[in-house]
Amino acid sequence: MAIHEKHLIRPENIKTHDNLVIDGVDVSGHWSTFIETRVVTDYNEQLQDEIAALPGGEYIHRCWQCGSCTNSCTVNAINPDFNPRYWIYLIRVGMESELLRDKEIIWQCVSCNKCTYACPRDVVPEGVMKATAHWLEMKGHTAPSNSTIFDEEFTRQVVQTGKIEDGRILMNFLKNSKQPLFQDWLIQMVKQMLWHLPIKYLMGMGLATLFQPKTKSWGKARAAIEEHIAEEKAAERAALGLDAAE
């Protein structure tokens, strides 16, 4: 019998036997390829609450599975395995093992928000994707993505100085994400800047990179922001059942 839903077969469920004899009949060969049914044997009852505790995931419980998000999705048009409707369902009923199978695809959301406008129940699927990617990182299922590494450096500078300094962000991002500093595109960009930018701006940028000026009287604001971030992080980690310290 033909297999109608080949896309449901995962490689690890295919069992091949080079030598197999059943009831005295040798059935070795390509037809002795067996596909094991994957059965869901339990629900993780905390999953929906955990996603809902992260920014963007708050409205996941409103979903009625109409598929408007998947239908309007930019990424889904390129990769049919990128299916926000499906992941929202898995999270809502607590099928964690199924969700984890797609952990390398979920973060690919480009945040175009077409789903947000298409959603008739105001689920904000884009936010749910963000929260889910965040959840996967916090739980250690995926390594921090480049965008997370970038965000961390960006935020660190804002909190420290009240300002951002493009050169340093770029350098630290490349360092933290273990990428070489000398990227072809970067060298090209710097050359173009040296050629085209007025000398005044170049000097300004150079000084800022070297001395990292701070916003005036930044100390109090910085303390307040740091306190707030610490509180939020602690709340998120507590909601996910993780230790308070990172």
């Binding site: 839903e5 869901v40 044997t41 009852e45 419980h61 898995l90 809502r92 009923v93 199924e98």
Partner: protein, 350 residues
């Protein structure tokens, strides 16, 4: 008015509403009820809070019983059934099982329904595993004050599954109708369970959800948004047990994946069957049944509650799955139709 009384068969919500309506305009009537007390299924089956009012059945329906009890225009014959019904509109002759009889101007059949007996779906484990119960039993656990407990060991369940469409929309067992109210009742019970036992997770297995009209927000979404009840699109194939947990097997159709999930309790959302006595009622009152076995209604455009026999009216879940609110409305409407017959007889006498 000195007309002949109107006969009301059945003392549930429809019958109580019909009787009260008739008495409130001075028309005499007789309620015949086969059970020993009035109230109908909501009382006799021990319902808890009603959908959609949220009032306790014993208060809401109990109030309707109190309203007719002691009314001089209403004669109540409990523990009684109709044995013979002959004659024509304005002048029917009735004989009761107690032996006596009298003449009446019209009759309203408010004979209700019978709960589906889950034993007829053996694959879902009712009668085999003690922790498989019906919505009616959960209603009783709540209304008795005992609380929702596993029948096998009296413990609080940690995880409950509610299976919808048990005895409804099932061609295999000859019940193709939707019982209309079980989705909302189940959502209501799920919320009551979550309220009593916040640590208990409730999963509803459905084919589609029919919390129609305004019930959509009040039950379907409220149960999900406020009470975190989970809805899973799967018609369960079988219910088994490992000796402690009840194991539910099926296919989650949205994921296209087989599921085998353990539960502490499984609740059958049982449907509404035609009253088991409908064949008998059909022959006594000479009224037709519709193909599913409920009492057939004539079209509603000319007058409410007409059956196939002139002068005999029908109201409530005798006509098909019906809510309590609509049964009451139909009881009142049928009472008005019956009153017209009683009054035309009065006009003819004058």
């Amino acid at each position: 008015m000195s007309t002949k009384p109107v006969l009301i068969v059945g003392g549930g919500p429809a019958g109580l509403a019909a009787a009260h309506s008739l008495a409130s305009v001075g028309q005499k009537c007789i309620i015949v009820e086969k059970k020993d007390s009035l109230g109908g299924t909501p009382i006799h089956s021990g319902y808890a809070k009603l959908v959609p009012s949220g009032e306790w059945a014993k208060d809401a329906i109990g109030g309707m019983v109190d309203r007719v009890t002691g009314n001089k225009l209403i004669t109540i014959k409990t523990g009684n059934t109709v044995k013979e019904f002959t004659g024509k509109p304005g002048n029917f002759s009735v004989k009761y099982s107690e032996g006596k009889g009298n003449s009446v101007s019209a009759a309203v059949l408010c004979t209700g329904f019978t709960h589906f007996d889950s034993i007829n779906k053996p694959e879902w484990g009712f009668g085999t595993f003690p922790d498989v119960v019906t919505t009616t039993q959960v209603e009783q656990m709540i209304s008795s004050g005992q609380g929702v407990r596993r029948p096998s060991n009296g413990e609080k369940p940690k995880r409950v599954a509610i299976l919808l469409c048990v005895g409804s929309r099932d061609r295999q067992i000859g019940r193709e109708w939707c019982s209309k109210i079980c989705c909302s009742v189940s959502a209501n019970l799920a919320m009551e369970i979550r309220e009593e036992l916040p640590d208990c997770h409730v999963y509803v297995y459905y084919m589609d959800i029919r919390t129609y009209g305004l019930l959509e927000t009040k039950y379907y979404w409220r149960s999900q948004e406020e009470f975190k009840v989970k809805y899973i699109k799967a018609r369960i194939a079988e219910v088994t047990s490992d000796g402690d947990k009840v194991i539910v097997k099926g296919e989650d159709t949205l994921v296209k994946r087989p599921i085998t999930i353990p539960f502490d309790m499984v609740v059958h959302a049982i449907g509404m069957d035609p009253n088991v006595d409908n064949m008998l009622l059909s022959s006594i009152f000479d009224v037709n049944l519709e193909p599913n076995g409920f009492i057939d209604r004539q079209n509603s455009y000319g007058g409410m509650g007409a059956s196939s026999r002139e002068g005999v009216f029908v109201a409530g879940s005798a006509t098909g799955p019906e809510t309590i609110d609509d049964s009451i409305a139909q009881g009142q409407a049928a009472a008005f139709s019956a009153l017209a017959i009683a009054n035309s007889q009065l006009a003819a006498a004058e």
